[in-house]
């Protein structure tokens, strides 16, 4: 700072704080937005007007009993595949992380094998299990059998499909769980050991809850991909959603609207899973952030509150004190949630 600087300053000293501020205008951004809107509009228009979509047929079948039953089968396959797959996956991951070379090798081999075999090939193997083993028994290995059952009776198409999906899923789940556990700071395990916390409890209470943050996004991917992947068991003539839709359009020849029926169901249920994922992730993120962000529902409520407060303030400004309303705020008091 020199004396000259301070001497010039008064010329610039005009008070600008009262002048209105004009935001910058983004003409190219507006143009791009307009072009995209036109394209979207064109597509939407096509969806409504193109007779090929055949919306009446679509609506006839969307909630038809046969389709709903097929959706239920798809959900069951997903549920069993996920629960059994991840249960086995956790066991495999822990085997892989154990100190026993035998357990490590078996787990590694399992993952190697089931990631190598295409799901559809594996499913067909299970479907044909009765050809390999006519009877399944329970007894001493290489010794007498106490109890046995005909394979055909025990393993129907549905069971074969569930086994196939679960075994396939387990290989991927094992790696996802292992990745999550590896990402937890080893110091956490050490601190738990220093406190004498029993091993199972170390895992359940300290390591896995922290691993869940890394596991969940990948697990959700897997569940959603399994959910859609169940359509592959249509090769085993199981009446899940995709098979059922194929049966119907095989009968009436309306391929496109029936594919849309399946598509809409897959989209709706994937959306439900995605929303569930958001809330489960939020639960396991507790403690991870200083101030957890609000949920969409909370954000919406805050928006409504702000809007009400803003319009309320506007009303008061226009009409002065309203009948029986709260006393107008004092001049010096900050206006709550008002216009900024």
């Amino acid at each position: 700072m020199t004396a000259a600087d301070t001497a010039v300053a008064p010329a610039d000293d005009e008070d600008l704080s009262t002048l209105p501020i004009v935001p910058a205008r983004h003409y190219w951004r507006w143009l791009a937005g307009f072009v995209v809107l036109v394209l979207v509009g064109q597509f939407a228009h096509g969806l409504v007007t193109n007779p090929g979509w055949d919306w009446p047929v679509f609506f006839d079948y969307l909630l038809a009993d046969s389709v709903l039953a097929a959706v239920w089968v798809t959900l069951q396959l997903t549920l069993y595949g996920t629960v059994l797959g991840f249960a086995l996956g956790v066991v495999l991951a822990l085997m892989r992380l154990s100190d026993s070379v035998i357990l490590q090798s078996v787990a590694w081999t399992y993952v190697w094998a089931f990631r190598s075999i295409p799901l559809i090939v594996q499913l067909l193997f299970w479907f044909n299990l009765a050809y390999l083993y006519q009877e399944l028994g329970f007894g001493i290995p290489f010794g007498p059998v106490f109890w046995h059952v005909e394979t055909m009776n025990l393993i129907g198409a549905m069971t074969a499909a569930v086994i196939g999906l679960a075994l396939h899923q387990a290989a991927y789940a094992a790696e996802i769980v292992r990745g999550g556990v590896l990402a937890v700071d080893p110091g956490q395990r050490e601190a738990a050991a220093a406190l004498g916390i029993p091993r199972v409890r170390q895992l359940r209470r300290i390591v896995l809850p922290q691993a869940m943050r890394g596991i969940l996004p990948n697990a959700a991917n897997e569940i959603i991909s399994l959910f859609k992947g169940t359509s592959i068991v249509s090769v085993m003539a199981i009446g899940e959603l995709f098979y059922q839709v194929q049966v119907i359009y095989g009968r009436n020849g309306r391929v496109v609207p029936l594919l849309m029926v399946a598509t809409v169901w897959y989209i709706v249920l994937t959306t439900v899973l995605s929303v569930a994922q958001y809330y489960v992730e939020r639960y396991f993120a507790r403690g991870a952030e200083r101030n957890p962000p609000p949920t969409p529902a909370q954000r919406l409520r805050a928006l409504v509150r702000d809007f009400r407060a803003a319009t309320g303030a506007a009303d008061r400004a226009r009409g002065g004190p309203t009948r029986g309303g709260p006393a107008p705020p004092r001049k010096d008091a900050p206006v709550e949630g008002g216009a900024r």
């Binding site: 700071d185 110091g187 956490q188 050490e190 601190a191 738990a192 050991a193 220093a194 406190l195 004498g196 916390i197 029993p198 091993r199 409890r201 209470r205 300290i206 809850p209 922290q210 396991f284 507790r286 403690g287 991870a288 952030e289 200083r290």
Partner: protein, 255 residues
Amino acid sequence: MSGDAMVDVRGVHKSFGALHVLRGVDLRVGAGEVAVILGPSGSGKSTLLRGINHLEKLDRGYVRIDGELIGYRRTGGKLRELKERDVLRQRAHIGFVFQNFHIFPHLTALENVVEAPLSTLRRPRREAVAQGRALLARVGLADKADQYPRQLSGGQQQRVAIARALALEPKVLLFDEPTSALDPELVGEVLDVIRGLARTGTTMIVVTHEIGFAREIADTVVFMDEGLIVEQGPPPAVLDSPAHERTRAFLSKVL
């Protein structure tokens, strides 16, 4: 200190591969005493401390706490390694405070403190919670009980870690450079807590680089270098008139 030392370390050796980290360490700490271990990095201080509660297995030698062998049991002429479950049970009597706190980030301060009493000692929840709140108050964090670690400063996290270690009412408390990961202005609050514990007659072994603090709280200062205890004695003896050249060289660098 004669035969009735609270902590008794004898002839301890430990190697990591070709690296011989501990080369025959003997250390005795009496009940209610505070031993402070000083030494350059790589001298084996932390490994010794981790060996005392069997976070590191020893290659040779043994550790006794209150007369009980840690990590091994004697059968005839052999020391047999204990099962993990039994080692975990022994660790309930040995509190450990880590350099990087290792506090559980997904649990609140109070949940961190009550976890071990609930699962290791199987205390009733109400009792554990009452004790946990009292301990948090003792380290000056009564109002932070329901905060998550990431909402706390480093010094506060380390104080929660100390409360967590105290919750097991250990016979010995081990501190592994408890202030090394802290901003300078947060060191004081943690040292205050440790100082308070020293005054109440808690048996402690503290690895630290805070020489002034060592002088203040230590009954015995132990200087380690290259896997051996070079000298030990009361603070004035070791810190003001060290007998060994290596001790002198180290002190001249850190003071």
